[in-house]
C-alpha cells in the first residue's frame, strides 16, 4: 500500500499499522501535510495549521508505539478542529475579524479529551463567521470550496472541517452543529458528520452561537471513525452544567442491529420543496434499505412548517446575547475612539460581517421589551411542541430517516444575497436540533454529478448507538 493511500483507511486500520510499525505517526503527518499543501490553495479549509507542534507530538507518540505500549485508538491520529473550539495558546478566530488575533488561554473539554487520547490537533478549520451560515461564504478568511467541485460551496458552517476531511487533509475533525452545521456540510462534501444529543458532549470551550442548540460533534470519512471520535469526546463535564451524567457505553456500530429497528419517514418532510435528484436518491436508498431493517413507515411531525422560523428566532436571540461580549475592551479587535460608546460601535461595526450583524439585530429585536413574549416566548412554546412531535413519532419508530438537505450543493455566490433561500438549506436539520436529538448525515450509495446525497438519521435522546448502526448499514450499501 502506498503511503499516500493512508487517508482512505479507517482509524482502526491506521492504528493497527502504527502498532505494527508499518509506518510512524510522522509518516502519517507527512502524507496529511502534503495533501494540505496540494489542496489548500484552492479549498481554503484551514485558518491556522500547527505543523511544528504536530510533528513534535507525532515523534513522541511514535516512540511510544516503538516500545509496544498499549495506546488509544486515536493515538497519533491527526484531527482538525473548527475554529470556534478553543485550543490552548492557538488562534480561535470564529472566522471573524473581531477575533482575528484571539488566542485562547485554555483547551475546550473536547480538545482536552482528544489530547489525552493522544490525538494530534493539526490545525483550525475555516467556518462561517461565528458559525452563522449554510455555505461557508461568510468567513472573514474567505469562503471554503467544495473539494468535490471547487465551484460549489462545501456547506456551512463546519464547511472547513468537512472539506479537509473530504480531501484527506485530516483523518477526522471536530465541527459544531447548531441547526445542521455538521450534517449539512458533511452531506455536501460526501463525508459522515454527527450531531450528538444536546448535553452529550461538553460545550465548554466551544464559542457560543446559540447556547441551547450548539453541539460539538465529529466529522470523518466513515461511520466507525465518527463513532470512535464521539466516544472520546462524549461524557459529563463539571465545566458544563448542561452536560448529562449518562453513561456513554460502547458506540461501536453494528449494521446487523438494524434488523430490529423500525425507520420512520416524516411525511411533512416529503411535502417540502426537495430537489428531484435528492428525492430520487433518498427514495432509492429507502428501497435498498428495506431488506435490512424491520420496517419502514411514514410518521408525522405536524409542526415541521415551524421548524425554521422557530429555529431562527431562538438562534438569533441567543446569538445577540452571546456576541455581546465582543466589545473591544479585553481582547480581539479594538477600533480606536475617544469615547467608550463610539469605541464599542466602531469595533462591532468593523469587526462583524453582514450575516452576523443581521442575526444580532434580529435577535436583539426579538428579545426587546414588548416583543419578547411575541417572539422569543412564542418560539419557546413552539419548541416544546416540536419536541413533542418527535416524542410521539418515536413511539412508532426507532429512528427517523430523511434527506440531510433538500438540495445538492449549490454554486458559490448563488444564494449569499438571498438569506431566506439560504436558510432553507437547514429545513431538515433544525428540527432535531430544536428537540436536542442526535442525528447523523451519511452519504447515500448513488452519486449525482460528482456529489453525494446525505441521508440524515435521527435518534431518540442518547440514541447515538442506534443512529450509528443505521448509518453503517447505509454506508455498507455503498459497497
Amino acid at each position: 500500500m502506498p503511503l499516500s493511500d493512508i487517508p482512505n483507511l479507517t482509524i482502526f486500520e491506521i492504528h493497527n499499522k502504527l502498532k505494527n510499525l508499518d509506518f510512524t505517526p510522522t509518516d502519517l503527518l507527512n502524507v496529511i501535510f502534503s495533501r494540505i499543501n496540494d489542496h489548500e490553495p484552492t479549498i481554503n479549509g484551514f485558518i491556522s495549521i500547527f505543523k511544528e507542534k504536530a510533528y513534535q507530538e507525532a515523534e513522541i507518540i511514535g516512540e511510544k508505539f516503538k516500545t509496544g505500549a498499549e495506546l488509544s485508538l486515536l493515538a497519533g491520529i491527526p484531527i482538525a478542529v473548527k475554529d470556534n473550539i478553543c485550543v490552548k495558546d492557538e488562534l480561535t478566530t470564529c472566522g471573524s475579524k473581531i477575533l482575528h488575533n484571539f488566542r485562547s488561554p485554555y483547551d475546550a473539554t473536547a480538545i482536552k479529551q482528544l489530547k489525552k487520547a493522544g490525538a494530534i490537533v493539526i490545525g483550525k478549520t475555516n467556518l462561517d463567521e461565528f458559525a452563522m451560515g449554510s455555505s461557508n461564504e461568510t468567513s472573514y478568511f474567505g469562503p471554503v470550496k467544495n473539494p468535490l467541485n471547487p465551484n460549489y460551496v462545501p456547506g456551512g458552517s463546519s464547511g472547513g472541517s468537512a472539506a479537509v476531511v473530504a480531501y484527506g487533509g485530516s483523518i477526522g475533525a471536530l465541527g459544531s452543529d447548531t441547526g445542521g452545521s455538521i450534517r449539512q456540510p458533511a452531506s455536501f462534501c460526501g463525508v459522515v458528520g454527527l450531531k450528538p444529543t444536546y448535553g452529550r458532549v461538553s460545550r465548554y470551550g466551544l464559542v457560543a452561537f446559540a447556547s441551547s442548540l450548539d453541539c460539538i460533534g465529529p466529522i470523518a470519512k466513515n461511520v466507525c471513525d465518527v463513532a470512535l471520535i464521539l466516544s472520546i469526546i462524549a461524557g459529563y463535564d463539571l465545566h458544563d452544567a448542561t452536560t448529562v451524567d449518562f453513561p456513554v457505553g460502547s458506540l461501536i456500530p453494528d449494521k446487523n442491529k438494524v434488523k430490529d429497528y423500525t425507520l420512520g419517514i416524516p411525511k411533512e418532510y416529503l411535502e417540502e420543496e426537495i430537489d428531484d435528484e435528492v428525492r430520487k436518491v433518498f427514495n432509492d436508498t429507502i428501497k435498498e434499505l428495506k431488506d435490512y431493517v424491520r420496517e419502514i413507515k411514514i410518521v408525522s411531525l405536524p409542526h415541521t412548517p415551524y421548524h425554521l422560523p422557530c429555529y431562527y428566532l431562538i438562534c438569533t436571540a441567543e446569538a445577540s446575547s452571546n456576541l455581546a461580549r465582543y466589545d473591544g475592551v479585553r481582547y480581539g479587535l479594538r477600533e480606536k475612539s475617544e469615547y467608550l460608546i463610539q469605541m464599542y460601535e466602531a469595533t462591532r461595526d468593523v469587526g462583524f460581517g453582514k450575516e452576523v450583524k443581521r442575526r444580532i439585530l434580529l435577535g436583539t429585536y426579538a428579545l426587546s421589551k414588548g416583543y419578547y413574549d411575541e417572539y422569543y416566548g412564542t418560539a419557546q412554546k413552539v419548541r416544546s411542541l416540536i419536541k413533542k412531535d418527535f416524542d410521539d413519532a418515536f413511539r412508532e419508530c426507532d429512528l427517523i430517516i430523511t434527506p440531510t438537505s433538500p438540495t445538492l450543493p449549490f454554486k458559490l455566490n448563488e444564494r449569499i444575497t438571498n438569506p431566506l433561500a439560504m436558510y432553507r438549506s437547514d429545513v431538515f436539520t433544525t428540527g432535531p436540533s430544536l428537540a436536542g436529538l442526535p442525528a447523523i448525515s451519511v452519504a447515500a450509495p448513488q452519486k449525482v454529478g460528482g456529489f453525494s446525497v446525505g441521508i440524515q438519521i435521527i435518534g431518540r435522546p442518547f440514541g447515538e448507538k442506534e443512529i450509528l448502526d443505521c448509518a453503517l448499514a447505509i454506508e455498507e450499501l455503498n459497497k
Binding site: 478553543c86 460545550r203 446575547s321 455581546a324 481582547y331 464599542y344 436583539t364
Partner: protein, 476 residues
C-alpha cells in the same frame, strides 16, 4: 406642616455579598486585597467558549438568608441574563434571577412593624473601573462574586424607619453568617426608591431612586434630602420626574445619574447555560437547622430571662459574637445585670478605643466572669475591679492573682482603716471644722480622701460608715 400633607413611601433594593470562598460561577477566590485582576480566570472574564457553573455554597447561604427573612423558598428557581454594555461587565450581560427568584414573600420586623420582602434572588457582581487621568482601567477581581438581592415592598415610611430596617437586616445577615455586610467595603449596598403621596391616597406617586449610599448616615441624609426635595416640588404643584439620583456625600445633595436613556431595556431571557436550580425539601430543612437564634428572638429571650433593660439588650445583641460572649460570661457569672453593665461600658469601651471586634478581645469569657464573681461577692471593690481589668488586658494573669499581688482584695482590718481615717482627718482640720459647724456636705470629700488612700482595699460603703461614725463620735 408638609409631613401632614404627604406620606413618604420608600422601597429598598439591597445587594449583600455572600461570604463564600469562591465566586458564583467559577472557582476563583473571593479576594479584593490582592492586586487587580489576580483573582480571575477565563470563566469570570467571560472569555469566548467559557460556561458558568453554580457555586452551591452560594445557594446554601442565599437559602439560609431567605429562611431567616421568613421567605418562601421556590423549589425551582432559574437564572436569566440581564444585558447591558459596560467595560466592567465582561460578558455583556449579568447572570441573575429574574422571573423565578430563589425566594419570595418574606418580612423583617422592626418595632412591631413588618417590612415585607417581595423577593430574594442570587446574582453575580460586576468588576470595577478605575479612572486615572485620560485612561480607564478595569479590575475584574470582584467580577462574579455572589450577591443576594433583597427587594422590599414599599412599606417604609420615613428615613428613620429605613435606617432601622437596614440595621436589622444587616444584623440578621451577620447573625446567620451569610454576609459581612460591611458597607464601606461594598458588601452591603442599598438603593432606596422614594415617592410621596397625599395622606390617605392609595396610588403611589412618581418615584426616584437613590444610588451611591455607602453608609447608614448617607442613607439617612440622602433620604431626608430627597423627601424634602420632592415635598418642595409637589407643594409648588409641579411634577416629579422618574429618575435615578446619585448621592454626593460632600455636597450633601443628589444629582440625576442619567437623563436620556432612563428606561433601559435589559432584554432579559432565560440563561441557557444553566439548568433550573431545583432545591429539595431535605436541603431546605437542612439549611433551616443552620439558622441560629435571630436578633429579635434573642432580645426577647434576654429581656424575659434576665429582666434586663431594653436598651441594654439592644446593645448586647447588636453583634452576634458580642451576644455570644455575653451568654458565655453569664454561664460562669450568673449576675446578668452586672455582666451586662460591664460588657456595655468597660468591654465595649475597649473594643471602641482599640477598634477591634469582640472576637479579638484579649480576655476570655471565663476569666472576665471570674473577676465579676469576685466583685459580686464583695471580695473586691468596683474600683479595684477596674484596676484589675486594666491589668488583665495586658497580662495573662487571672484576676485573683492580680488582686493578691496588688493587695486589692477587700480588707476587713478595721483597726487599720481607723488609723487611716484618723490620719486623714488630721490632715484636713479645716474641713473637719466645717463639718463640726454643721456643714455635713463635706462628708463626701472626706470619704473620697480616705478611699483614695485605701486604693479599693476597703468597701466604700464601710469606709463611709466609719468616717461618719468617727466624726460623729468625735463630736460628742
Amino acid at each position: 406642616m408638609t409631613e401632614d400633607r404627604y406620606e413618604v413611601v420608600i422601597g429598598m433594593e439591597i445587594h449583600a455579598q455572600l461570604k463564600t470562598k469562591s465566586k458564583m460561577f467559577c472557582a476563583c477566590a473571593v479576594q479584593f486585597k490582592d492586586k487587580p485582576n489576580s483573582n480571575v480566570c477565563p470563566i469570570c472574564l467571560g472569555l469566548p467558549g467559557t460556561l458558568p457553573t453554580v457555586n452551591f455554597e452560594a445557594v446554601r447561604l442565599a437559602t439560609r438568608a431567605a429562611l431567616a427573612l421568613n421567605c418562601q423558598i421556590n423549589p425551582k428557581s432559574s437564572f436569566a441574563r440581564k444585558h447591558y454594555f459596560y467595560p466592567d461587565l465582561p460578558k455583556g450581560y449579568q447572570i441573575t434571577q429574574y422571573k423565578e427568584p430563589l425566594a419570595v414573600n418574606g418580612f423583617v420586623e422592626i418595632d412591631g412593624k413588618k417590612i415585607r420582602i417581595k423577593r430574594l434572588h442570587l446574582e453575580e457582581d460586576s468588576g470595577k473601573l478605575i479612572h486615572s487621568g485620560k485612561e480607564s482601567l478595569v479590575d475584574f477581581n470582584r467580577c462574579g462574586v455572589p450577591l443576594i438581592e433583597i427587594v422590599t415592598e414599599p412599606d417604609i415610611n420615613s428615613s428613620e424607619e429605613a435606617v432601622r430596617y437596614l440595621e436589622e437586616l444587616k444584623r440578621i445577615l451577620t447573625y446567620i453568617d451569610v454576609s459581612d455586610c460591611d458597607m464601606e467595603k461594598g458588601h452591603f449596598r442599598c438603593e432606596p426608591n422614594i415617592s410621596l403621596r397625599k395622606a390617605g391616597e392609595e396610588k403611589l406617586g412618581t418615584r426616584t431612586e437613590l444610588k451611591n449610599l455607602n453608609s447608614l448616615r448617607n442613607v439617612r441624609e440622602g433620604l431626608e434630602f430627597e423627601i424634602a426635595r420632592q415635598t418642595t416640588i409637589l407643594t409648588r404643584g409641579e411634577k416629579i420626574i422618574q429618575e435615578t439620583l446619585l448621592w454626593d456625600e460632600k455636597t450633601k445633595t443628589a444629582q440625576p445619574m442619567r437623563s436620556k436613556e432612563e428606561s433601559e431595556d435589559y432584554r432579559y431571557f432565560p440563561e441557557p447555560d444553566l439548568p433550573p436550580l431545583v432545591l429539595s425539601q431535605t436541603f431546605i430543612d437542612e439549611v433551616r437547622k443552620e439558622i441560629p437564634l435571630l436578633p429579635q428572638a434573642r432580645r426577647q429571650l434576654l429581656i424575659s430571662k434576665y429582666q434586663l433593660d431594653k436598651n441594654l439588650v439592644e446593645i448586647i445583641t447588636e453583634d452576634k459574637k458580642f451576644a455570644d460572649y455575653f451568654d458565655d460570661v453569664v454561664k460562669y457569672c450568673s449576675k446578668a445585670q452586672l455582666v451586662a453593665n460591664w460588657l456595655v461600658t468597660e468591654v465595649r469601651g475597649i473594643l471602641n478605643t482599640r477598634n477591634i471586634a469582640i472576637t479579638e478581645f484579649p480576655i476570655s469569657s471565663d476569666v472576665l466572669a471570674e473577676l465579676l464573681v469576685m466583685l459580686d461577692k464583695q471580695e473586691i471593690t468596683s474600683k479595684a475591679a477596674k484596676i484589675i481589668f486594666e491589668e488583665m488586658l495586658n497580662s495573662k494573669k487571672r484576676p485573683r492573682e492580680i488582686a493578691e499581688e496588688k493587695g486589692l482584695l477587700i480588707s476587713f482590718d478595721e483597726e487599720r482603716l481607723m488609723t487611716i481615717i484618723k490620719e486623714t482627718l488630721k490632715e484636713n482640720p479645716d474641713v473637719v471644722e466645717k463639718y463640726r459647724k454643721g456643714k455635713t456636705t463635706v462628708l463626701g470629700f472626706l470619704i473620697g480622701e480616705v478611699l483614695r488612700k485605701v486604693q479599693g482595699r476597703f468597701l466604700p460603703q464601710r469606709v463611709g460608715e466609719l468616717v461618719k461614725k468617727f466624726l460623729d463620735e468625735d463630736l460628742r
